[in-house]
């Protein structure tokens, strides 16, 4: 049920190519991650929409193969 941290990052960047992605493995078990995703694509979107964009990039793995991903999203200040 676990997912590799590089795989999580790769999928997010594939879906949101201009995003800056920082991921932490919270427990070192490959199953509980925290991600901060910053992307100009988030400008003008609600938090819900921003998170949905990341979930979409993860292609349905969220809640399945990827059990716990604490997500924080933002648009760059200058955007």
């Amino acid at each position: 049920m676990a997912m590799d941290i590089q795989e999580v990052e790769r999928l997010i960047k594939q879906g949101l190519p201009d995003a800056t992605v920082r991921i932490e493995d919270l427990r070192g078990d490959g199953d509980h991650y925290a991600a901060h995703v910053e992307s100009p694509a988030f400008a003008g979107k609600t938090r819900i929409e921003q998170h949905q964009m990341v979930y979409k990039a993860l292609g349905g793995r969220m809640g399945g193969a990827l059990h716990a991903l604490a997500l924080r999203t933002s648009a760059p200040e200058s955007a």
Binding site: R47, Y55, G60, M62, G63
Partner: protein
């Protein structure tokens, strides 16, 4: 929002219309079965917000149905006055910034500062 085609979607639509604050969660407010659900219960309790907790674990069709309804892949999910507010991360972020209490009051729901 998804079109009302299935009975479970109709039930969700009725629940979020009949109750000001609804939390779809794993377990009950007294005995949450998941840390993320527990965290949202704790935040709502801390704000003194009355809410209806709906345990998705007792009904697999509801567990899947709410994910489709909200287009959101995880539980818990918080609804206020029929509007989807978010999951654990968003609720926590809004709580920490004070935004959640403001939002609830804007919606006419009593909440402590």
């Amino acid at each position: 929002m998804t079109t009302m085609t299935s009975p479970v979607h109709e039930r969700i639509a009725a629940d979020i219309q009949d109750n000001d604050v609804v939390l779809y969660m794993k377990g009950t407010p007294v005995f949450p079965q998941c840390g993320f659900s527990a965290a949202v219960v704790q935040i709502l309790s801390h704000l003194g917000v009355k809410f209806k907790g709906i345990d998705v674990l007792v009904d697999p069709s509801l567990r899947d149905g709410i994910k489709e309804f909200s287009n959101w892949p995880t539980i818990p999910q918080l609804y206020v006055k029929g509007e989807f507010v978010g999951g654990c991360d968003i609720v926590r972020e809004m709580y920490e910034s004070g935004e959640l209490a403001d939002f609830l009051r804007t919606k006419g729901v009593a909440a402590n500062a």
